[in-house]
């Protein structure tokens, strides 16, 4: 048990595309931003990440609206941000308001609220000056996620299309990783839980869980494991698999990975959402649920098994 705890989720496709799926500061910042907008200025346009600079604001705001709408709901007791906005910006323009929450959030996440409160006003003023000078600055100033610098709504820099595009994808990837990219989401199954029984047996505890996740029969996976590992075993009372021989979690993980590659993922679209069915004449077919392709897979063959252990009586 203990050894399995360090890797919470084992991702069979990890080696291909390592991806960080969490961007917590950005998420947090958004909430703050959303809350600020809601309280101080209900009719306001999208702030921060929505505002892609003045010129393109209308268009991109539309684009982001869908995901924007969820955010304010999520925003809970973030009263400090709205408070600040209301406090030092009662008469300012919409635009100015937009900039400030984002700025404050950029710094406020790392500092205390009190520090930020003290620091915000001068910073807001200073920012104004900085923004006037901003067109001269290089393109990649400002945080893509937080919407500062060039990305500020008040900024007057002409944003090029590629620049906007990169920002769009950065945001999409950080906040909605499942929407981004090539359509295949990362496929995750729990790591195999491996225990040792005695000295010569290994227990694969969560095989039924893994099988359920892969939508495969236990027997099929078991058969594959035994064939690959060149061993035998049995299933015990609580549906755990007892494998003869010593195996570590990593080793079983490798074998499972190979199983997934061979019998689970669709060759055409790489989707793991497939069904394994026994077709006519004893062949197994993998049918993809997302692209509809169907392919036959090789039956599991054990191959040559050397006699291990005590010598069998020589048959003549």
């Amino acid at each position: 048990m203990a050894e399995t705890e360090e890797t919470p989720v084992f991702d069979p496709s990890l080696k291909k595309k390592p991806r960080k799926s969490v961007a917590f500061e950005a998420e947090n910042g958004d909430e703050v931003n959303g809350a600020g907008k809601d309280n101080a200025e209900p009719q306001g346009l999208e702030t921060g990440e929505g505002g892609e600079g003045k010129e393109s604001e209308e268009g991109t705001a539309e684009m982001f609206k869908g995901k924007k709408k969820k955010k304010p709901k999520k925003a809970d007791g973030d009263d400090e941000a709205p408070g600040e906005v209301a406090e030092f910006d009662p008469t300012a323009l919409k635009r100015k308001k937009k900039k400030k929450p984002s700025k404050e959030k950029a710094e406020g996440d790392s500092f205390d609220a009190a520090l930020a409160e003290a620091g915000v006003v001068p910073r807001g003023e200073g920012e104004e000056g900085a923004e006037d000078a901003e067109p001269a600055l290089p393109e990649d100033t400002g945080d893509l996620l937080l919407g500062t610098g060039v990305w500020n709504a008040a900024s007057t820099v002409d944003l090029t299309y590629p620049l906007l595009l990169t920002r769009f994808f950065t945001l999409l990837r950080s906040q909605h990783p499942d929407l981004a990219g090539d359509g295949r989401r990362s496929y995750k199954i729990p790591p195999p839980q491996v225990l040792r029984e005695g000295n010569k047996k290994t227990i694969f505890a969560n095989i039924s869980d893994i099988c359920k996740r892969m939508k495969r029969f236990d027997e099929h996976v078991t058969q594959f494991l035994f064939a690959e590992l060149g061993t035998s075993g049995s299933v015990d009372g609580s549906k755990r698999l007892v494998i003869r021989g010593k195996f570590q979690q990593k080793q079983l993980e490798n074998v499972l990975r190979r199983y997934i590659l061979e019998y689970v993922t669709c060759r055409t679209c790489k989707s793991p959402d497939t069904d394994l069915k026994k077709g006519e004449n004893r062949l197994f077919f993998v049918t993809c649920n997302s692209c509809g392709s169907r392919r036959s897979v090789a039956a599991i063959k054990t191959g040559f098994q050397a006699t291990v252990g005590k010598r069998r009586r020589q048959q003549t």
Binding site: A227, L229, G230, V255, S296, G303, F304, Q305, A306
Partner: protein, 114 residues
Amino acid sequence: MSIENLKVNDPFADDVGDTQPKNYVHIRIQQRNGRKTLTTVQGLSKEYSPKALLKAFKKEYACNGTIIQDKDMGEVIQLQGDHRTKVMDFLTDKGSDKMGKYALAKENIKIHGF
């Protein structure tokens, strides 16, 4: 003269599936008692002399091994110890002291086990 539409075009060129089973060489591992293992090399085609290969393997990896006559699988090379990756490298090595021009393609070798 040529007609654009009648160019030779293999419609199955990008067929990814390996529909008919290739003659794979299977390299397997089996656990013995303790931390001892066996490596078996199965499915070598008839052109290769298992005897000569075994001799080379034994020398290369400083291990013992035998050739086993199996009813279904034919001749199987069995080596003592885990030499799977090394056998794989050997079989694909084009060096003159290894397989030379008879080297196998990597796609035709399957390594089993953990």
